[in-house]
């Protein structure tokens, strides 16, 4: 019983599903024709997929972000999901733009990669607006199943196969843990809907003697641990370096950009709506501290490019988790969203640069030497992004870290803010080491200078402009994130908005 109003909210997902199926059939028909070489066709599919994602952005953008509880309350659309959808699609579009040029040329031979990326994007769109434990699990599985295949997609490489297997095993384990948490929550409360769970938690915090024992803490912890696995926070990060190292660079770019947004959005939704008892808070506190420390210490010892990026992203996940420190306060959520958006821009930029450096296999950080002379524009872009990662003042990364620490101090988590500042200062060391390496070191053998293609250059130019010029005009960013946080908080705690159906 889907009525028309409910289907309207699903338009971007429906567009993605339909286009994916069309591209799949098209690809199967064309790729099996023996006369046609495979490589240019990947470009075509990637190009079509890019336009599909752009069209989805338009569809999301023109839709009015009203609060809709659709399809028997399993999806919830509001201003928060609206903007998160746009961020996610922008991130995906950026990644596909990198693939358009490199996919056909280098190593990506199967057009199914694009199809899988589109399918997992649709899964993440559903995940962002999920409002029920069941649809949340299904969307998460749709997304991660695509990722398992993507990680192992380079079959002739041993690293890629190993990465796929490792990702699959640990991902399935974390999904199992997550599902166990869901079943504990359902078993002891009898509801799976986020709003109803929120009402239960609310009545419990009011001291109403409830007939059941409330939401069990072990269920909440299992769900949060499942989340921490997915966002590669520290005690559960062990799969990330190998998986990111083993898979193709383009695939790694997608891994480290898109799911972060979707899972953080979903995590904020769950922790804000269902479990505002703060039973989970100490776990996130610990994960945040651990991620910051490990991201800093381990990135210092890395020699390979992708491992370096992974550990730096683990550190950034730690900084983002600070946003949860004050329970779910408005400022915390807002700073989390700011940090997420800026992280998105920086990561797209970094991967755009790394995709341009060839040969693709086994890149070492030392190979970046003398790029300052070989390709000055590349070197300047790279240095700016690294400064931004480190949090040097006029750049965007500083803004994100500043607001995260500021939010932490406002809610009294001084320890977290202090530790964040210390690790941030230490991390400057290795970000600056890369810049030094690029300008002052002379390696024994010279690399082929990077070749930046047109689409890649566009992506890089846009992201670098965002990173460097953000401090001039920050109000749109703050307004948008404030608006998102408002949308999130308009729903929580009250939870009596009726459904359309």
């Amino acid at each position: 019983m889907l009525d028309r109003a409910e289907l309207l909210g699903l338009f971007p997902e429906i567009l993605l599903w339909d286009t994916t199926l069309i591209l799949l059939v098209l690809g199967m028909m064309v790729a099996r024709t023996p006369a046609r070489p495979a490589a240019p066709f990947v470009r075509t599919v990637a190009w079509l997929g890019l336009h599909c994602v752009l069209l989805a952005i338009v569809l999301v953008g023109v839709g009015i972000p009203i609060t809709i509880n659709s399809i028997h309350d399993i999806l919830l659309t509001d201003s928060f999901t609206h903007c998160c959808d746009i961020f996610l699609l922008v991130g995906t579009a950026g990644t596909i733009m990198l693939i358009v040029d490199h996919g056909g040329r280098d190593t990506l031979r199967a057009f199914e990669t694009i199809v899988l990326i589109l399918l997992s994007t649709s899964g993440m769109l559903v995940l962002i607006s999920a409002s029920d434990l069941l649809i949340m699990f299904i969307a998460m599985e749709l997304q991660t199943l695509c990722f398992y295949v993507l990680a192992a997609s380079k079959r002739d490489s041993e690293c890629s196969t190993e990465a796929g297997l490792k990702y699959f095993l640990l991902g399935a384990f974390s999904s199992g843990l997550f599902l166990f948490g869901c079943s504990m929550v359902y078993g002891s409360t009898g509801v799976t809907n986020f709003e109803e769970l929120g009402i239960l938690a609310l009545t419990r915090s009011w001291g109403v003697p409830d007939p059941s024992t409330g939401i069990p803490i072990i269920g909440i912890l299992c769900i949060v641990v499942g989340f921490l696995f997915k966002i590669t926070a520290v005690p559960f990060h062990m799969w990330a370096p190998d998986v990111y190292e083993g898979s193709l660079t383009l695939v790694t770019a997608f891994f480290s950009i898109a799911p972060k947004i979707a899972i953080f959005a979903n995590m904020v939704r769950v922790l804000n709506h269902c479990f505002h008892d703060h039973d989970w808070q100490s776990l996130l506190f610990f994960a945040s501290i651990g991620s910051m420390i490990l991201g800093t210490v381990a990135a210092m010892a890395q020699q390979k490019v992708k491992r370096f990026v992974v550990y730096s992203s683990i550190g950034h996940v730690g900084y983002l988790c600070i946003g949860f420190a004050g329970g779910t306060t408005m400022e915390g959520i807002q700073s989390l969203l700011i940090g997420l958006l800026i992280y998105l821009f920086m990561t797209v930029n970094v991967f755009g640069l790394f995709c341009a450096v060839r040969p693709v296999r086994s890149q070492y950080l030392g190979d970046l030497g003398v790029f300052g002379k070989l390709h000055p524009l590349f070197a300047i872009t790279f240095s700016l992004t690294m400064f931004s990662y480190a949090g040097i003042p006029p750049l965007a990364g500083f803004c994100s870290k500043f607001y995260l620490f500021f939010g932490a101090i406002r809610c009294g988590a001084d320890v977290l803010a202090g530790l964040g500042v210390v690790t941030s200062v230490i991390s400057c060391f290795y970000y600056l080491r890369l810049v030094k390496l690029m300008y002052f070191d002379l390696p024994g053998e010279y690399m082929i200078p990077p070749r930046l293609d047109r689409d890649n250059s566009i992506v890089l130019a846009i992201t670098v402009a965002c990173i460097t010029l953000m401090f001039l005009y920050t109000s749109p960013l703050f307004l948008v994130t404030h608006y998102m946080a408002m949308g999130l908080f308009a729903e929580s705690g009250v939870g009596f908005s009726g459904s359309v159906a």
Binding site: M1, L2, A38, I74, R109, G123, I135, L145
Partner: protein, 177 residues
């Protein structure tokens, strides 16, 4: 203790033992492990019958025992395993004892504080309500799944599509590659 409780105890304890043996013997030789796995699924479907969930019991038999385990068996039999020297790689025994001890203590904790279930009264009120026309599980499930939460169903369909696509991408070798 009536017959039904005894049946439950037998089924669940057999399932527990064979589940433990799957983990234990899988390190040595995978083929018996797969058969024990099959046994676990069959016993679990027996438990589902005990719970009156007949449709799910059949699904367990058809999908898990009939399709999944057969696939496992297929893969395991196709692969050749070198068994020499692998006997020493099995995890030491005391881990199992620790896990078992934890399990038993947990069981004791749960049983100690669990409230007694209320005994059903001899004259239940409204016993015959809702039994005039009875819907089977399949009816109820179909109504819920296809009409009320179709998105879950569509999502599962997409997951199956991804699984199919993944199997093709990962295993089928085209001559061009």
């Amino acid at each position: 203790m009536n017959n039904s409780t005894i049946l439950f105890g037998v089924l669940s304890s057999l399932a527990l033992v064979s589940g433990g043996l799957v983990v234990r013997s899988g390190a040595l030789n995978p083929v018996p492990a797969v058969f024990l796995f099959l046994l676990v699924f069959v016993l679990c479907s027996g438990l589902l019958v005990w719970l009156d969930l007949d449709f799910f019991a059949m699904i367990f038999l058809v999908v898990y025992a009939g399709a999944m385990v057969v696939f496992f068996l297929f893969v395991v039999m196709m692969c050749t395993f070198r068994r020499e020297g692998r006997e020493h790689e099995v995890a030491p025994r005391h881990t199992e004892f620790v896990v078992g001890l934890l399990f038993l203590s947990h069981l004791w904790l749960v049983l100690e504080r669990s409230p007694r279930p209320p005994t059903p009264s001899a004259y239940p009120i409204g016993e015959h309500c809702g039994h005039v026309t009875s819907a089977t599980h399949l009816d109820t499930l179909g109504t819920l799944l296809y009409t009320h939460v179709p998105l879950l169903f569509i999502g599962s369909g997409l997951i199956l599509l991804v699984a199919l696509l993944g199997a093709i991408v990962l295993t089928v070798h085209t001559p061009g590659d």
